[in-house]
């Protein structure tokens, strides 16, 4: 929180953040998280508009995963408010989480279940009835191209298949907001395209998707909104076109975050200058 008497440091950051926006799918205000000596997230304010395809980009260690964990109820923030469609997540976790679908990074699944069993139990544990679960399990297995591996144990799946089945498990209760941490990591291009189609259709039907990614190009093509986060702060947020402002998203990102090295660097790595 900035002191109200001090002028705002950046034009896009108001001195006092407005109260959480109840119309937003996800509204974060003043989120802080400290791990030991290091402050991972230092006052994140973010509104994810309802019905948007929202990309969260940032360098390694920027606080993306930590922010998303706090926004989805997986990690308790030190300070700050999270609202999901106007419901305070940390005050009413059961009600808010029922409308959320989450794919955390490095999620621990019940990997001793088969793909079909995992989806079935994901639905049942979410409180769905048996017939609905059976229907949706088949639909999701088909959509994720996992029908052939429905009876294979998840522990024997490849990294990409595991990602897909975890994504399907996050979607089975038809959440209003999907929060996906690096959903395309290790997924092959064909499956990634299929997943993108599923997510786009989901957004077209009024759902909200939040993805974190390192791949700027993908975010620029796929997302309607984007936030650039670095050092635990949101540096820019808004529609993709507004944020990139005529540049490519990647150039804009490098401008904001910095860290590009112009020097030659690692001269010993060049094969031409191999030691004699």
């Amino acid at each position: 929180m900035t002191d109200p008497t001090v002028p705002p440091p950046a034009p896009q950051a108001p001195a006092t953040p407005p109260p959480p926006d109840p119309s937003a799918a996800l509204s974060l205000r003043g989120l802080w998280k400290r791990f030991g000596q290091k402050i991972a997230v230092a006052g994140v304010d973010l509104d994810v508009p309802s019905g948007s395809f929202f990309g969260l980009v940032g360098p390694n260690g920027a606080g993306k995963t930590t922010s998303l964990s706090m926004a989805t109820g997986l990690l308790r923030p030190d300070f700050g408010v999270v609202q999901v469609h106007g419901t305070d997540l940390w005050a009413e976790p059961d009600r808010a989480k029922a409308t959320l679908g989450v794919l955390p990074d490095g999620v621990r699944l019940f990997d001793r279940l088969t793909g079909a069993q995992l989806l079935t139990y994901a639905g049942l544990l979410r409180g769905l009835d048996r017939t609905t679960v059976a229907e949706r399990t088949e639909d999701l297995l088909q959509a994720m191209d996992l029908t052939g591996d429905r009876d294979t144990f998840v522990v024997d799946y490849s990294a990409g298949m595991t990602k897909k089945v975890a994504l399907a498990a996050a979607m089975i209760h038809a959440p209003r907001v999907l929060v996906l941490d690096e959903p395309f990591e290790a997924v092959d291009p064909v499956s990634a395209a299929n997943i993108r189609d599923i997510l786009s259709a989901y957004v077209a039907d009024g759902g909200t998707v939040v993805v974190s990614s390192h791949v700027m190009d993908l975010v620029q093509r796929m997302c309607s909104h984007v936030a650039i986060i670095a050092g635990g702060h949101v540096l820019a947020a808004g529609t993709v076109d507004a944020v990139r402002g005529g540049q490519t998203l990647e150039d804009r990102f490098v401008d904001l975050v910095g860290g590009r090295r112009e020097s030659e660097g690692l001269s010993w790595l060049r094969s031409s200058s191999a030691s004699s």
């Binding site: 791990f35 290091k38 976790p93 990074d105 621990r108 139990y121 049942l124 544990l125 979410r126 990591e185």
Partner: protein, 323 residues
């Protein structure tokens, strides 16, 4: 939700039959062994109860207390024994905590040790078959004792999980837990003396004399109290019965509360968050995890158990033994 979690546990158990021949063999061996121990305990208790119910009751208190103690302490070193329903796997399902707790408690009985403990506790209660009132009290005590085993073991493992992730506390804890193991020696010696007296002396009375002071003390501990309900009725000591029941219920309530609190914390504290254990994967993950590398291995060998916390995450085959 309770039914779903029990079914989930059974499905996971059934899947091990399909997945691994060795785990199946292990499960069968464990089951046969468990059934053997069960049969032996029940036959012994009923036979003993027929000869001298009072002394049998004292034996049951001491042995039962050791069983509860083992449930509380052993999983701290062999947590991998039952990681199938690790709370970390439930975080994304947003199950209301009370339902999750009740389900995990019920599912905790669905394992070879859980089933053997429950059936065994109920079975040995029939040592009091000559006295219906004492039998009923003993059966109530058996259910309480089994609940205390399951809930207590979850409470200790969940509450101490953050400590177990740090090497320094693990070493301290190991020393603390060695204390009861050290006491096992003298206890066995004491019991052996008693048996010797029995053989040389005048039979059951002598065993009673040797055991009486021990069981009198143990019956007041949280571990022994539920096992001593039958003998309180047998003695017609209603005040004692109420007191032991109170000790059992209070312990169960306390263990439940500790488990509830620590589960609530565990569900919003991913491993590697506050505890200095690095996650194996995770780009840009919690930065606190980078402060220290993962413990390469423990300096001292673990005294019990095949799978320690350190090795569990690395060896997949050992991570999910189903019993």
């Amino acid at each position: 939700m309770v039914a779903q979690l029990v079914r989930l546990k059974l499905t996971l158990l059934a899947n091990t039959f399909r997945r691994s021949v060795w785990q199946t063999i292990g499960l069968v061996v464990a089951s046969v062994y468990g059934l053997g121990v069960l049969a032996l305990a029940v036959v012994g208790a009923v036979a003993g109860g027929t000869v001298d119910a009072a002394v049998t009751g004292q034996v049951l208190v001491v042995v039962g207390a050791l069983v509860v103690l083992a449930w509380w302490v052993v999983p701290l070193f062999a947590f991998g024994l039952d990681a199938t329903l690790d709370p970390q796997r439930f975080v994304t399902f947003a199950i209301p905590r009370r339902q999750l707790l009740a389900g995990l408690a019920a599912a905790g009985v669905v394992s070879v040790p859980g089933a053997v403990t429950l059936l065994g506790a109920l079975g040995v209660s029939f040592a009091w078959w000559r006295e219906p009132a004492a039998l009923v009290a003993a059966l109530v005590g058996a259910v309480l004792a089994a609940a205390l085993c399951v809930v207590g073991s979850r409470a200790t493992t969940t509450a101490l999980a953050p400590l177990l992730d740090s090497r320094r506390y693990r070493e301290v804890l190991m020393i603390v837990a060695v204390v009861p193991l050290v006491l096992v020696g003298p206890a066995i010696g004491w019991l052996a003396d008693g048996v010797e007296v029995t053989v040389e002396g005048s039979g059951a009375d002598a065993v009673g004399e040797a055991l009486a002071p021990l069981s009198a003390v143990v019956a007041w501990t949280p571990f022994g109290a539920p096992w001593a309900l039958g003998s309180a009725v047998h003695d017609g000591a209603w005040g004692l019965l109420a007191a032991r029941l109170a000790v059992s219920l209070a312990t169960l309530a306390l263990a439940w509360w500790v488990w509830d609190r620590s589960l609530a914390r565990a569900l919003v504290t991913p491993r590697g968050g506050t505890a200095p254990r690095a996650r194996a994967r995770g780009s840009g993950g919690s930065p606190g995890s980078r402060r220290r590398p993962p413990a390469p291995s423990r300096r001292a060998a673990p005294p019990i158990g095949c799978a320690t916390r350190g090795t569990r995450r690395r060896s997949r085959s050992c991570r999910c033994c189903p019993w």
